[in-house]
Amino acid sequence: MSSSVPDYSKNVSVIEGKPSLRSIDDLISKPLDTKPDKKYYIALAVTTTMLMIGAIALLASFYYGTGLWGNNNPVGWGFPIVNFVFWVGIGHAGTLISAILFLLRQKWRNGIARFAEGMTIFAVMTAGIFPAIHVGRPWLDGYLFPYPNQHSLWVNFNSPLLWDVFAVSTYFTVSFIFWYVGLIPDFAILRDRTKSKIKKTIYSITSLGWRGSNRHWQHYEMVYLVLAGFATPLVLSVHTIVSFDFAVAILPGWHSTIFPPYFVAGAVFSGFAMVQNVLIFIRKIFNYEHIITIDTLEKMNKVILLTGSLVGYAYAMEFFIAWYSGVQIEQFTFVNRAFGPYAWAYWIMVSCNVLFPQLFWIKKIRRTIPLMFIIAVLVNVGMWFERYVITVSSLARDYLPSSWAYFTPTLTDLSILLGSFGFFFTFLLLFTKTLPVVSIVEVKAVVEGSQPSHKDH
């Protein structure tokens, strides 16, 4: 992996040094055992303020109606859908890290999997808000599920929007189960460490009575493998189905077969960037530098580089297909994207998603924390704008020039976007103080010397 010739014959430990197992317990459960400091409360104050701004904007939208948003003819999908796709995309990193990298036997994932899974759950929760509010009367969202009702009507199984309901709710449920199954042995560790009676009761219940029995570990590992096997096609299916929301429509700029792989790559791209952003803080604040090593961060950057290049390829291919297809309206759409009224958004997207991540070809940048932080932030900005460009620019100028219009977000739109970040980060902050953000068990399993040396068998 490094520039020198790697020695594949020996297992390189992904955990630096050789921490004792008990010190790992102590280190990872430290945030749970100690009172948070001032900085934590300041951070929490900031995120909850953002959350409240969003909540007020939302309540106002419920009261006065969705007319408070920029959505109008012809751009009926505006911010809610942009934000939905953005947050679902963020939610893809967690399951990718915990499932796909698990199947690929990437041990470096062990230090970051729990945290990334937590992020997935919070990101999908955040994403779930948007389609729910976009329907205008969110208290009627129950109609999205096929249940026997007094209208004796069923849902439309031919609609990508309905597939979305199933995909996102399945994704959330399976991610949550995956996360919880991973947490069970850690809860047992916490249960046996804690001195507080209340905590002990809570951990006893959540650990379900785990006793580290190998007869259990055997099934446990098998289920983890099975779940990883399920989650892998699932994670690919979710953003594929999200892309169907666009690709199945006949709008120029949406109606394209490249959308599913392009969206999945983009989702992994933005998800990894978000994980990277937050990991950098986590490992510093909680002193996890030897568990989440700089090598791990470098590998994350390589994934960002790969997926960023894939996304760049997709941008180029969209133009190529528009030209090659000979369809005038497609050609117009793409020229309009790059040089029309939304050119500013398009070039923000291209520069943040395609150009800046290319800096990761340089090893020095891959291993420099401030630089990778900045690039990861830019990637997230770029990916938000990607969804903005796709959603808004295609709707704003479709077949009929007489119905063209320019989309302008309102203050309410921006407040809800801000609130979604507040929602996500508030949950994340609470998570860091209530649950082990690194899987204690998985880290122990990859510490040097934690596995038998197999000398006599």
Binding site: L21, L59, F62, Y63, G65, W139, P146, S152, L153, W154, F157, N158, P160, L162, W163, F166, A167, T170, T173, V174, I177, F178, P185, A188, D192, S204, I205, S207, L208, G209, W210, R211, G212, S213, N214, R215, H216, W217, Q218, H219, Y220, M222, V223, V226, L227, F230, A231, P233, L234, S237, I241, F244, V441, K444, A445, G449, P452, H454, K455, H457
Partner: protein, 379 residues
């Protein structure tokens, strides 16, 4: 029961190599009810303990396939049998479009099914009152030690023998673990006051929350169900018009479409003199009159206008329509009654339109004639 019941013996080891070796020896010794406890899954332990591969993948397969099948049948029934709706000209049975949902349901059910089976059936969890809990042994093996436990239920179990066996394979801190007497003697019955109180509290909480959510919360601000709209409703104060009325007075002389102005309000005699029934006596008009009479007049006047109310005295009975007085009234006089009301009878001007009023009058005339037929009518 004062004497404690022995659960088994436990011993601790320091390194993964030692525990693998110990597990192999324990298995070789012929113990069956023993277990190895490790802080994380140790590679090679399943082989050392000679455990058979987990059956859980089969459970996942079975649950997944059943869910796929059931969902397919359900979707087929919904879209082609129960309520077929044509969507975009596609056939009712449009299988390709169902693939995403079928896939998601398969994954969802298989994941939940496997995990629940593992926890509830394979692990017999939740079980937070196992004798090993709250012992130094469990505190060590969830942290940094590796342990073996041999249960007293093992056929080869013998206290002395097991203790020496554990010592012989190099176990440290060999301890006997006992069942907790309180827990062993604890009888779980349904009729425990605590449990019943718990049930009642849960039932109240669930029904209360449901009631509140469905009947109150959904109708609170900001969930206004579009009641809050920027429009004037009748009688509302207007800040826009200088007179403060939101309802505007029509321009003088305006006549609403289809309406004839009624000039005889409060003057029934004039109406009786001047108004003439414009309708011809046709079957259609009489049908209409009968229909409207049965709807609006018959509750008080009776189906034949005899004043035999169906309201059982909840409203004063009107006089018969067959009296000399009514029979001698002109059509216009009766029209005035319909428009203005009379005594306790209210106006029916808003229930019946002009045509219907005249049709009702025609029908009343027919009723009157039916009860006072003349000789000449028989012809």
């Amino acid at each position: 029961m004062d004497e404690k019941i022995l659960y088994g013996y436990t011993g601790l080891f320091d390194t993964p190599d030692e525990i693998i070796e110990a597990a192999e020896k324990t298995a070789a010794e012929g113990f069956q009810k023993y277990d190895v406890h490790t802080p994380y899954p140790v590679h090679g332990m399943d082989a050392a303990m000679k455990l058979k591969p987990s059956k859980l993948p089969y459970i996942a397969l079975a649950v997944g396939l059943s869910a796929l099948f059931v969902m397919f049948i359900f979707m087929y029934w919904m879209t082609t049998i129960d309520y077929p709706v044509i969507v975009g000209g596609k056939p009712f049975f449009s299988f390709p479009a169902w693939v995403p949902v079928l896939f998601e349901i398969t994954v969802l059910s298989a994941s939940i099914g496997t995990v629940v089976t593992m926890i509830a059936i394979f692990f017999k969890f939740p079980n937070i009152s196992h004798p090993l809990h709250d012992t130094d042994f469990i505190r060590s093996v969830t942290s940094d030690k590796y342990g073996i436990s041999i249960e007293a239920e093992d056929p080869k179990f013998d206290e002395e023998y097991v203790r020496s066996f554990l010592a012989s394979i190099g176990a440290k801190s060999i301890t006997a673990i006992y069942w907790d007497n309180d827990e062993v003697n604890f009888k779980n019955t349904v009729l425990q006051p605590k449990f019943i109180t718990f049930l009642i509290v849960v039932a109240l909480a669930v029904s209360g929350t449901t009631y509140f959510t469905l009947n109150k919360l959904m109708f609170m601000v900001p969930f206004n169900w579009m009641r809050e709209q920027s429009k004037y409703i009748p009688q509302e104060v207007s800040t826009f018009f200088s007179d403060g009325f939101s309802m505007r007075v029509p321009v003088k002389g305006t006549v609403a479409r289809g309406n004839m102005p009624y000039r005889y309000a409060g003057d029934p005699d004039a109406a009786g003199k001047e108004l003439i029934n414009p309708l011809a006596i046709t079957e259609k008009n009489l049908e209409l009159g009968k229909k409207k009479f049965d709807i609006y007049c018959s509750p008080c006047h009776g189906y034949f206008g005899k004043g035999d109310s169906r309201l059982r005295g909840q409203f004063p009975n009107p006089p018969s329509l067959h009296s000399e007085k009514v029979r001698n009234w002109s059509d216009g006089r009766i029209y005035a009654v319909l428009m203005d009301g009379q005594n306790v009878m209210p106006s029916y001007a808003s229930q019946l339109n002009r045509n219907e009023r005249w049709a009702v009058i025609l029908y009343v005339r027919a009723l009157q004639r039916s009860l006072n037929a003349k000789e000449s009518d028989l012809k």
